[in-house]
């Protein structure tokens, strides 16, 4: 005499209801895949959307370049959209991001979508993109450099091995360095977008910020469009008519936040804006590709004509 459990198992296995349900479930899983394998003629791929937002600092640029390297090296990513919302930041960090985007653009289609602002160092970051899209309310431009310099008057307090050891660059030195960085920025704009730009060099170096429509008109951007427009354009450039979108963030994760404010002031949110671009407690010249005023007790040299 069989035990009750065996009888119930046998009943279940021979039940038409159970067989139909299992068949439906398996069919639902296998069906679409089989259909795609049999009838799919379009090329499938992935468009990665990398968000770059907030002040550009050394640590934030590290996060961005790391992510851009990851999508460049990832064979499943066919095209990349940069989702930018930043007024710029440190010159060196902006240059690092520019070079990372340029490396990426050599290998994959890159399209930029301006979420709110792509100014100064953030615009520099976007320059190697194949296309730049913005909505009318977006703000684009501010091609210029500024330097925050400590008050250099007087004999340095510490004993030093040379007159400039503490940081005593002369005003002439600072102005020459700012001019050098400006030339690099402006030359880069013309190298990347000279064929589309209608602004003369003096107009560009005026460092004005334009609305999205103004930027499209003068060639700082390519067309009015939102993120979906940019994604579609990137997919089209990669030859994809069917694709998935992989959203990636470059902002600090929870672990980074817990590691402390000293590594990323934007994450801490409690530091003065000026200290985002320097080491607290050390006063030295700071070169910025940044649009907007800073809370800074320092003299400033700018390449733009803003008052």
């Amino acid at each position: 005499m069989a035990n009750p459990i065996d009888r119930r198992v046998k009943t279940l296995l021979t039940s038409y209801t159970v067989l139909v349900v299992v068949a439906l479930l398996l069919g639902a899983v296998v069906g679409p895949a089989a259909s795609n394998a049999l009838f799919e003629t379009e090329e499938r791929g992935t468009v990665a959307v990398v968000t770059i937002e907030g002040p550009i600092t050394g640590p934030s640029a590290d996060d961005v370049t790391r992510e851009l390297r990851a999508v460049r090296r990832n064979g499943t990513v066919d095209a990349v959209v940069l989702r930018i919302d930043s007024g710029g930041g440190s010159v060196a960090a902006s240059e690092a991001q520019y070079r990372a985007v340029k490396r990426l653009a050599r290998e994959k289609p890159v399209v930029t979508s301006v979420r709110g602002i792509a100014a100064s160092g953030a615009y520099y970051t976007a320059l190697p993109s194949d296309e730049i899209y913005a909505t009318p309310g977006g703000l684009i431009g501010s091609v210029g450099v500024r330097a925050l310099i400590p008050q250099p008057d007087g004999v340095p307090e510490p004993v030093t091995t040379g007159p400039d050891k503490v940081g005593g660059l002369t005003d002439d030195d600072i102005r020459a360095q700012v001019e050098t960085l400006k030339r690099s920025f402006v030359d880069t704009v013309y190298a990347e977008r000279g064929d589309r730009l209608t602004l003369t060099r003096p107009e560009l170096t005026n460092a004005k910020v334009y609305s999205g429509t103004g930027a499209v008109e003068n060639g700082l951007a390519d067309a009015v469009g939102d993120l979906e427009t940019a994604i579609a354009s990137a997919a089209d450039a990669a030859g994809l008519s069917s694709y998935s979108v992989d959203y990636r963030s470059t902002t600090p994760d929870l672990l980074s936040l817990l590691r402390g404010a000293e590594t990323n002031g934007s994450a801490a949110g409690s530091l003065a804006r000026a200290t985002l671009f320097t080491t607290p407690g050390i006063d030295r010249p700071r070169y910025l590709m940044l649009w907007g005023d800073l809370d800074a007790e320092a003299r400033e040299v700018r390449t733009d004509g803003a008052t």
Partner: protein, 295 residues
């Protein structure tokens, strides 16, 4: 029999363990989705020093005082909250002193004990740099009378500047300069086409030949204010713009009206810019102008 069962169990265990190990091991082998781990060198032309490196402007020449006369007294006003200290105009002051002239800073303390009237009575020249307070009507009249009697007046101004999170105070020179038919526009001059290292360092050239511009080929003025009125002595080139209007033009930065001269750039008298271009020649000429009056 028991030994056989035990060996069978051990064998089954090892076989399952081996299969599991192989399967999970295979599952952990990274499947390359990337290309080879190489990055081609990236050369950005606009990052190369040859194409972008700017050099600080060359600094040459010395401020001189060619006049054979000595013992002239030059009063520099500090009593109207003027934006000037001896250090800020040190090349100008030291050259006057080394040429045997007397330089008197008319400070607040002096003003408490001695009127401007008495101070100018024994002066040959009066220099006003970027005052922070207006000159009252009697002071304006006194300075005008001083010039009418052969005294030389130099009015030097500068634009309001941003310093940290505030602005320097405006420099109300208008009333005093207006006494001589001179004035200063608001804002600062810049040039985005032709400039000396920075767009605020604007080139300027003599508008006419005369004592003020003798030997001057080209000047560099820094954050200058345009001068209005009088006879233009030095002007910028036509692509210079004024920050407040953004209009192109050849702006006057040095003008003369009788015994009064208006200069729209304090930095010309200071150590930073006095040796740039022919600035030292202009400063020498200004010294000559001040000490060659007829009082």
């Amino acid at each position: 029999m028991e030994l056989r069962d035990s060996l069978l169990r051990v064998g089954v265990f090892l076989a399952v363990f081996a299969v599991a190990t192989i399967l999970t091991g295979l599952g952990s082998v990274p499947i390359p989705t990337d290309g080879p781990n190489q990055t081609a060198p990236l050369t950005v032309e606009s990052h190369q020093p040859d194409s972008i490196l700017a050099q600080p402007p060359e600094e040459t020449g010395d401020v001189t005082a060619d006049s054979t006369g000595t013992g002239q007294t030059v009063v520099i006003d500090q009593s109207h909250n003027n934006s000037v200290t001896p250090d800020q105009i040190s090349p100008f002051v030291t050259r006057l002193l080394s040429a045997g002239h007397e330089v008197v800073f008319y400070t607040d303390e002096m003003a408490d004990h001695q009127s401007l009237n008495r101070t100018l009575a024994r002066a040959d020249a009066f220099v006003v740099v970027a005052p922070g307070e207006q000159y009252n009507t009697s002071e304006q009249a006194r300075v005008a009378r001083f010039a009418d009697r052969g005294g030389r007046v130099l009015l030097v101004n500068e634009p309001t500047a941003q310093v940290g999170d505030r602005s320097t105070q405006p420099t109300p020179m208008t009333n005093l300069a207006g006494t001589f038919g001179l004035g200063f526009d608001a804002g600062y001059l810049y040039n985005l086409q032709t400039y000396d290292t920075n767009h605020r360092a604007v080139f300027a050239v003599p508008a006419t030949e005369g004592p003020l511009t003798r030997g001057v080929d080209r000047l560099t003025v820094y954050t200058a204010r345009p001068v209005v009125g009088g006879s233009a002595a030095v002007v910028t080139n036509g692509s210079t713009r004024l920050s407040t209007t953004r209009r192109d033009g050849a702006y006057t930065v040095l003008a003369r009206e009788g015994n009064a001269v208006a200069l729209g750039d304090r930095s010309l008298l200071g150590p930073d810019y006095v040796h740039t271009s022919d600035n030292e020649v202009l400063v020498s000429n200004l010294i000559e102008f001040l000490v060659s009056g007829s009082r």
